[in-house]
Symmetry: C2
Subunit: 133 residues, 2 copies
């Protein structure tokens, strides 16, 4: 199979601090992944995508803002649902392609109405006991 | 900007249960995102990628296994570093493009030697107080 191009994707115009922008490694669509975690519980709520401007708005407005790949537009979480995400912290990972966004979540994080998007457990058929063994 | 193609990417040959495979929505490289969380602490450790076979191996061997986009090969976490990830649970998200992998982490999750990959805090310059206000 082909190895995907891991070079940096396109940078759209943005007000993002250039010092932060320089640390991002974007996918071919110009996006970084955003893993969203609830501050109070530590629950992983959802995964979404940000371009530079979505990250800028997230850092400067206090509201988690994503790039909707399906709609091709910015998406302020909760703007239509009321399920706001108040931003508590944002961290970038070691290779610059993922941010961890810690939020205070109002209501359900998932558009299906559940607290988190990760509700479908898959069967782990061999659990190595590891260090607990 | 162009809207990325969100149709399902290629499916490589795999032993993955077809009932699970049918629920995945792969990116154009045939991969789903894997968010990795530590069982004992709830810390989000890292983000990586899986194709069907990597998910199959993760579910059936008890060791977190990813697809290395840079090397173009399967990657059993800890195989070279000793920093094993013993799989405790795997959940699929609502739209089938991300799995949450809960692990028992041995040693550092990050190749840089830190506990998690998310060590670079970005400045949140306006924190809306939200429900706490």
């Amino acid at each position: 199979m082909p190895v995907p191009d891991l070079t940096n994707g396109p940078v759209r115009p943005s007000e993002l601090d250039p010092a932060i922008a320089a640390r991002l490694r974007r996918n071919p669509d110009g996006l970084v992944a955003a893993v969203v975690r609830e501050d109070s519980t530590g629950d992983v709520l959802m995964m979404a995508w940000m371009d530079d401007e979505a990250l800028h708005r997230t850092l400067t407005t206090g509201r988690a803002t994503y790039w909707s790949r399906s709609r091709g537009e910015y998406w302020v979480k909760g703007a239509t649902s009321g399920h706001h995400q108040y931003v508590r912290a944002v961290s970038l990972d070691c290779d610059g392609d993922t941010v961890l966004v810690t939020v205070e979540q109002v209501g359900a994080a998932c558009h299906t109405g559940t607290h988190t998007c990760f509700t479908a457990d898959l069967p782990v058929t061999r659990a190595d006991r590891g260090a607990s063994a």
